[in-house]
Symmetry: C2
Subunit: 407 residues, 2 copies
């Protein structure tokens, strides 16, 4: 992903009724692209509406036959589009996502015409949901906590939001093959339909979208318990746990059993210190090579002091660019991100809770992805020993929760 | 691709009428997977039929109402399936492709049941062609050269093949959503429909298939003309061409203009020696970082003799495993293959001829992909200076043609 043939800015345009997970998909996609080194940004028309018109608009405001509401909505949609156009002009290799309902052909034709002026052919991403229960859950889980319903009671808010959807439903025209390149997601990945989608970056976007779902479930991340090398301050190797480390494994096991209502998928690296930690848990672990610690190559088993005194040039080079620095015959953080990509895809498609027992550098890369940090920040994230990090993936970002377990 | 989460053997089952490019898609996919380090193999029922029953079967043999033909065809289909089942038992992380028409529901249900016995859920890949001209071209370009029509005249052969297609057409039942995971390609990538496709490897297969087309066009590969470093036997750097090198550029220009009936896409690396070579050609080049020579890191600009005497340990390590050896702060051949993947996708979707002016290691990786060599052979392929390598991508593999131009 770090060198592309098909450069030039890309614009994705979301299409679909409210409560079809458009915003969720848009945010996940942008987070994935940022993590893969591609500059990307969402332009959410709802946020412009709330900013410019206030958030307390009743369903009638969204009636296409209400001329005042129609004009006002057109104004905020244009404001978001203007900002998007400015952004792509300054980000020649970026990906902008225009997040709005765009349910009519004429609205989409307007977007296509506007973007054609700067030589961009947008890719539409339509989200269709055939399961009413999923729509209902989506309304209850994400829409009721929107600023739009800050002062409303849940039942009244749901009723109002259903009326809002009905207004869009009346004018909804699904994408047709003549409307240029598009991706249709039916029931979030159950079926996917593609029209004229080609090229590396668009294909990668499809690749990622087809593996997403919108069932929220927690992810628990932790380093192995303290190892003999942690005590000696050595990097790499394949040491056993210390007594303190085994003690952490037992506490983590108790804690996770309280937190997981259904049995989680349990993933470790292939190194003894993670396998020994997970062996205290009552679930069967899967050992994955992609979770192994960053390969320190010729410095494996050394202390940082030894690296500094015996390979001062390497020590300095690493300090200068920790993200891209590669140990002699070893890996860089970027290398680790590359090999973690299959795991990220697998993580996204899991419907059960996931527990991952791994290592500092690998967890920095995973946490960077899950909490939307820049690749540059990734090598500096704090991932202490004996601490469980819990994440619930949501469209409206949930804070990570860190729990220290024992000394 | 080199470490996967979703391991276990995979079976892809082709579906579609004759002359829909199924064999082409199957072969390309297997070649791509092999190149990415995944063991993969095609089981082509047509080859079993020709081996066991002889190739000179008239169209009537393929009539579903001809009981003798039907039984004979069922026998060879089973022989191919038996071999496939043996193969997956011995290749736990492999991908097997079962290449036959499989146009009826009952045939596909039989395959699904058989594979369920070894806990494999097949993924169907259906190729649909709505353009009669494409089918016609496919018959003329690939079917008439089949052993089946070795002794027939083109018109008679085409008539016979059309009659064969008509027999399949009568019983054709396209895939429905209840038939498990599948990929439908309409007009080779114009539209793509996916049903329940998830996970890293299946997603990567989609990613590759959506960028293929079946319009044959030549690809010309060459190293830059001789550079000052070639004369000094130094690796890497960014030297200029020598006079001999400029002379090659002129000859190559003359040669390519004779060979290209339509203007080609012209790609170079970002290094002077390829840019200077392409500047002799009458087409506008695009300089791509992904075509830059393998990064020799700290050894950049050294001679091999200097590496041997000053870093004997590195020199020995490289000799031991040239595919995976990474220069200190530089790249391995595997790294080069990884960064070439977007270019391969771009190469596959081009409909014009393509001319690539690049470097020895990079071209080894490209030639390995295009001529189906194993990754292990890749670092040892011969890519001499001042030689144009021409490839025509076809389902039935065309030989590469090498032309030496000047001293």
């Amino acid at each position: 992903m770090r060198t592309l043939v098909d450069n030039g800015p890309r614009v994705l345009v979301m299409v679909g009724l409210p409560a079809r997970g458009k915003t969720y998909l848009a945010r996940k996609l942008v987070r994935y692209l940022n993590w893969r080194g591609v500059t990307a940004q969402v332009f959410n028309v709802g946020n412009y509406r709330r900013r410019d018109l206030g958030s307390a608009q009743p369903a009638a405001f969204f009636d296409p036959d209400n001329p005042v509401g129609f004009e006002a909505r057109r104004g905020v949609a244009q404001a978001a589009l203007d900002d998007l156009m400015q952004w792509v002009a300054h980000n020649p290799n970026g990906v902008a996502v225009y997040d709005a309902t765009n349910v009519t052909r004429s609205r989409r034709a307007h977007l296509t015409r506007t973007l054609a002026e700067v030589d961009i052919e947008p890719i539409f991403v339509e989200s269709i949901c055939t399961d009413e229960a999923v729509v209902e859950a989506n309304i209850r889980e994400t829409k009721l906590s929107m600023p739009d319903y800050a002062d409303a009671r849940p039942d009244a808010a749901t009723r109002d939001f259903r009326a809002r959807i009905a207004h869009y439903q009346r004018s909804y025209e699904p994408l047709t093959t003549s409307e240029g390149p598009w991706i249709k997601l039916v029931d979030v990945g159950e079926q996917v339909h593609l029209n004229r989608i080609r090229g590396f970056l668009p294909s990668r976007i499809v690749f990622f979208l087809m593996n997403l779902h919108i069932v929220p479930r927690p992810i628990f991340l932790m380093r192995h318990g303290e190892s003999a090398y942690n005590v000696q301050k050595r990097i790499g190797g394949d040491p056993d746990l210390t007594e303190r480390g085994r003690d952490f494994a037992d506490r983590a096991s108790q804690y996770l059993q309280r937190r997981c209502s259904t049995p989680p998928s349990l993933w470790t690296s292939t190194l003894q210190r993670t396998i020994q930690t997970a062996s205290a848990f009552p679930w069967t672990p899967t050992a994955l090579r992609s979770l192994d610690e960053i390969d320190a190559g010729r410095c494996d088993g050394w202390t940082y002091d030894e690296v500094r005194t015996q390979m001062p040039e390497e020590f300095a080079a690493r300090k200068l660019d920790k993200l891209r620095y590669r140990y002699p015959r070893g890996e860089s953080y970027e290398d680790v991100m590359d090999r973690l990509e299959p795991l990220i895809v697998e993580l996204e498609r899991q419907r059960d809770p996931v527990v991952i027992v791994a290592h500092q550098a690998v967890l920095r890369c995973l946490v960077a992805y899950l909490t939307d940090r820049s690749p540059e920040d990734c090598p500096f994230l704090e991932i202490p020993l004996h601490t469980v990090i819990e994440l619930v993936p949501k469209a409206y970002p949930g804070a990570e929760v860190r729990t220290e377990l024992g000394p």
